[in-house]
Symmetry: C2
Amino acid sequence: MPRSPRSSSAKGPVTIAMVAARAGVSAPTVSNAINAPEKLRPETLERVLRAIEETGYRPSRAAQTLRTRSSKLIGYGVRPTPPGTTAPVMDRFLHALSEAADDAGYRILLFASPPGGASLKGYEDLLDQHDVDGFVLSDTDERGDPRQPWLDKQGVPFVAFGRMWSKRQIGDWVDVDGAAGTDAAVEHLISLGHRKIAFLGWERGSGVGDDRAEGWQRAMRRHELPTRARRAQSADDVDAARTAVKPLLDAGATAVVAASDTLALGCYYALRERGATPGRDVAVVGFDDSPTAGILSPGLTSVAQPLEAVGRECVRLLLARMADQDAEPERVLLEPSLVIRDSTPAPDA
Amino acid sequence: MPRSPRSSSAKGPVTIAMVAARAGVSAPTVSNAINAPEKLRPETLERVLRAIEETGYRPSRAAQTLRTRSSKLIGYGVRPTPPGTTAPVMDRFLHALSEAADDAGYRILLFASPPGGASLKGYEDLLDQHDVDGFVLSDTDERGDPRQPWLDKQGVPFVAFGRMWSKRQIGDWVDVDGAAGTDAAVEHLISLGHRKIAFLGWERGSGVGDDRAEGWQRAMRRHELPTRARRAQSADDVDAARTAVKPLLDAGATAVVAASDTLALGCYYALRERGATPGRDVAVVGFDDSPTAGILSPGLTSVAQPLEAVGRECVRLLLARMADQDAEPERVLLEPSLVIRDSTPAPDA
DNA sequence: CTCGTTCATTAAATCGATAAAACGAACCTA
DNA sequence: TAGGTTCGTTTTATCGATTTAATGAACGAG
């Protein structure tokens, strides 16, 4: 078989007309061979497919979009990472998103979303100019985020990474079950023999933070362990955490579950301050499995979000929504997994 | 003035024909009002612009692309972050890229690039199907990367984040001057009174690593300080670094410049092992200003890459290349900046 | 053997923009 | 006043695909 030459090797891309000429048919027949093969006589189909193969034909998305009003594009607004925040792992999510989209014949179109309050500008632009078929949203936990209601009203398909914490639920979303993560952390610690397990969380009021606290609490209750005086809160900041965790250590906690790796690191420092060693004297579990967790010493056991799966699910839900606008909203909670490192060692054999 | 209604509020987007009808002119006149306003009589221009404003008209990119063969799209292949690696904060880069592109009327189109060897598949697809106008490449330091030669041969505009270390230079690139970064680190340490300044780097052979070593070396020479027995190498791994730095500390180094934050953290541990305190007893400087650097205690002084500026420059060079295919290749080296934290404290007053 | 079906294929129309060519009015020159 | 410019606008054609309507061949029934 002849090696299929790159379309642009000759001059300009291969058009449907060239394929048609080569196969001895008309343009619509080539189109049908791709989009409705059952309409062709098997013999014709084979001839057309061969011509497509030989010419390396790829339909022009611009022409398809113009005709069908569907761009096979999914919009995603990139927020700048606020300096100081540990929110780096978005690369993994974006890659998973791209990959899942590619597999379905879609692509991700980026636009720069302003840092402060969620503006609708970029969303309007992508809709009008690029005819995007839908959007993936992230960072949806801000209060008064206008995006979901607006997109819903416009009838534009979208899916959010992050559930809605308000009562009124709008549209589909995918989220990670934070409570299940801290619950698993507690179970792990209990299996190691710990009973005095404390929780270091953020100030109440954030959906994500309260959810993570909830998982710790329910696991403790399940094992009939007291939670009173075993819980502290702090800003997501190492120094604040170092201070906030002290009472818990004073109260004799042998293990700390933290709502973030940053908070967990605060525990490390508080322990060292009093001459104790994280992992050996007090077990510590973080949340997010940030790059930092792996390079700390001792390595920080942490709850890892399945970002690849989140990306895939986002695309799956979005495609379903695009296929049927009126379907029941689907909401997916994914289980995080515990990455066990040296900060939660097995008891001496 | 009437509030401009969202195009899709009525039914379907606003087309150029609607604007033309409203302004009492023909379609091409509207087109000219946007693309060649000097061709219109001022009075007509004003009338057309008003109609555009009132209708909220945004030209359809699909139609424009079809006609002009320019999509105003820039392709970018997202690689998955290899697990274990200190994920560079690519989000910042991507945001900057998007923002700079948006400002110039372009957008970033993602595709999933396979993890292993750089495949050309995604690049071909974006060219043929989406008519992308150019590409931004990253992770170009791999040997035998086929992308640059291939794109160059195809005559497709591209710009790389990361210079080419081989002799044969192809195309435009933007990079961060790693040598200038470590040089500045040394200067900073010298100003604090240090003289025995060691360098902890990667194994020789990587362009990036050798460059960072080079900056340290030249600064030392400039101040007539010895570099012999002040240099060690290690894999980019905390434990390896901890071991590798020992001889340097044994030799009495009072400061260590590391080729990465991971290596710098290895120094922290080596110091603690011998009862010394990073920052107080021995100064440490890292490289990349990863999120980890900020949350360590003491905070790690680190060389920060100007990722926002890199993104902007990438777009600038790419636009220039698209405007003139035959222009001389432009290569931009950006200065990193030293983020000073507590690991390099000022001497006691 | 003619006429109505069925089925595969083609011809024609269309999406929304822009480039090129045609057009017509105003103005200038001879 | 005829003829030539200049200038602004419109007409026409086009990009590459898909949708709809039309076409023609093969076939069966009457």
